[in-house]
Subunit: 368 residues, 2 copies
């Protein structure tokens, strides 16, 4: 577990023992307050704890107060090169700034940014991507390396540390998973700054989800990462769900129904996929941890779903081998099993039976 | 890197220095030779190197010769409890058997299976899921643990080792990523058997892909895993693509076009997603490693895509801040950049320009 400094981004804690949070970034024009605010709200509704937006000129600054006032979550200003924009964004009430101090151009600019951030208790994220490694370091290493990414980030950080500023978050996103994971592992070993974790330019949903899940997920499994961003090309909204699914996968989000369902095989006699989809969608409002299993057969079903709170297995209670091939319907005979109880034979709309009983269980658990 | 034994599953090598292979399993009724063979072929076309099928009775055995004869890939028989079915499947020419010797019921059965497998050079996979841990071990540990899963697998393995049989593959799939990863890490530390890696009952595509990518991907990143299975509820076909995407993400499959595309932000002036989708689909036939970048703007574009062989960035060569918000079209002005060359201004159908040039590059690389 990577031990880090602890501070707040607006009302959201980061680092220390704080939960890992989900971030995304708007792709509207930040000069357009209404469109940007609408997307910020959409991202918050999708599960983002923090939202970033690009602030690239004075027009964006003009739109900022309206966006900040309407946002349900803390906002981060993404700024390149210009210290004056960073100071203006902080004076507007932005909760965090992403800027690389080494690119601001002057020591005076760095001083102003650090001093303003200190006054307003606004953290700064230093974000080095595989493409923004310092030129001297790139030459030293002969190309993009994890070491070079971290050294670049630490070079930027030093400029802030020299001003007595330490509420720093680092990100080290490469476009390959291997370099990304190596860079964050180095950072976790060598610094105590909270880490914003992601794979940059992961690509389109599909392969991009997989890249992000491997990169972010493997770091989180090792206790590395304090806030995460899945970067997908296109609408940012699916990024939130993908990030939440990664947090669920590594056990960092438990307040939901986890559907465990078998891949089906020649023994399957019921519509496992259809039942699992109904369970997933009809129980999506439940906010306590509950594992619900949908298994194709009673041969392995109840056994394989041992960790589930409740589950259903197709095909009655006979332990004989399979019979029907492929997939059947939601109507039929099944075995309903609950933790610590003997399985019970059920008949009818298996999905409805399972969902109703799972909801009762959730209610009972909630009342405890 | 986990050092393992090396042998073959039919013509496909496993373990040692062999490449990591992709597996899936049919969900047709294995008694139905035509339907099963059709799905085996579909899985092979989708990229599966090895396909498993459930063999649960004598009717399945009858269908087996026809399926084996028509299959373009080695097949694995998934068998529970019955040594006689395992022996019959091996005599039909199956390339591998998945069976847990401790559940066969008799020492004589184990002897027959081991002897037949030895004669025909057929490896055996021992597959312990979180639900099939030995009852005594489950009691010892008070529940499902990674240790318990491995100990159960080793108990089964010992029965084969006692017969002088060592062409063993182990799998230790739990339905949670945490237990899965912990179990395989233990196995890699303590045994030299090749490992078949997967998260069992990962659920529906979407969250199931994410669970599998985190679990399988993080193990592969650490050099653990010799063959992989993504288990998704529903059709097995998408499992192959998900598995291949995981292998690509960790750098184990490189013979393809890797599309690196930015998540777009307020600076984006071109249709990044549309161009990326066209690049991905129109260049999907290329079988050499080529990284193609699609970036929204020239501010970060070429720099962030430094590792790409070729790429395009929207908005011409001016390095000014963003202008248009949201997404535009594929037609417009952009900067085409290639490794080691100065960017060139291009105008027109940016996707078509990029695709044509990438294809030329691929051809030149191939001819080298």
């Amino acid at each position: 577990m990577h031990q880090t400094r602890f501070f707040h981004i607006g009302g959201v804690p980061i680092g220390g023992e704080a939960p890992v949070t989900v971030q995304s970034m708007t792709n509207t024009d930040s000069r357009d307050a209404e469109a940007t605010l609408a997307q910020v709200k959409e991202l918050a509704a999708a599960g983002c704890d923090i939202v970033r937006l690009s602030i690239y000129d004075e027009e964006c600054i003009k739109a900022l107060p309206r966006i900040i006032a309407g946002s349900p979550v803390p906002l981060v200003a993404d700024i390149h090169y210009r210290a004056d924009l960073a100071v203006m964004a902080m004076e507007c009430g932005i909760a965090k700034v992403r800027i690389n101090p080494g690119n601001i151009g002057s020591a005076d600019g760095v001083r102003k940014v650090a001093s303003c951030a200190k006054t307003h208790h606004i953290p700064i994220r230093i974000g080095v991507n595989s493409g923004s490694i310092d030129k001297d370091i790139l030459r030293r290493d002969g190309g993009v390396t994890a070491r070079g990414m971290l050294d670049s980030a630490l070079m930027h950080a030093r400029l802030l540390e020299n001003e007595g500023f330490h509420d720093i978050v680092l990100s080290l996103k490469a476009s390959t998973v291997l370099t990304t994971v190596a860079a964050y592992r180095l950072a976790a070993a060598e610094t105590d700054y909270p880490l914003h974790v992601g794979v940059t330019e992961a690509g389109l949903p599909g392969a991009g989800n997989i890249k992000s899940a491997v990169g972010i997920g493997s770091l989180l499994l090792d206790g590395i990462g304090n806030t995460v961003r899945v970067s997908l090309t296109g609408s940012p909204i699916p990024e939130a769900q993908a990030a939440i699914d990664i947090l669920k996968a590594v056990g960092l989000r438990k307040d939901h129904v986890d559907v465990v369902s078998c891949p089906t095989c020649g023994r399957t006699g019921i519509d496992v996929a259809g039942i699992a989809r109904r369970v997933e969608s009809e129980l999506s409002d439940i906010r306590i941890p509950l594992t619900v299993a949908v298994m194709g057969c009673v041969v392995n079903g109840p056994g394989e779903a041992r960790e589930a709170d409740i589950g259903i297995a197709g095909g009655g209670l006979s332990a004989a081998g399979g019979s029907a091939g492929g997939e059947g319907s939601s109507y039929g005979v099944g075995a309903l099993f609950e933790k610590g109880k003997a399985p019970v034979k059920v008949e009818g709309d298996l999905a409805a039976i399972l969902i109703a009983r799972a909801r009762e269980l959730a209610k009972a658990k909630e009342e405890k």
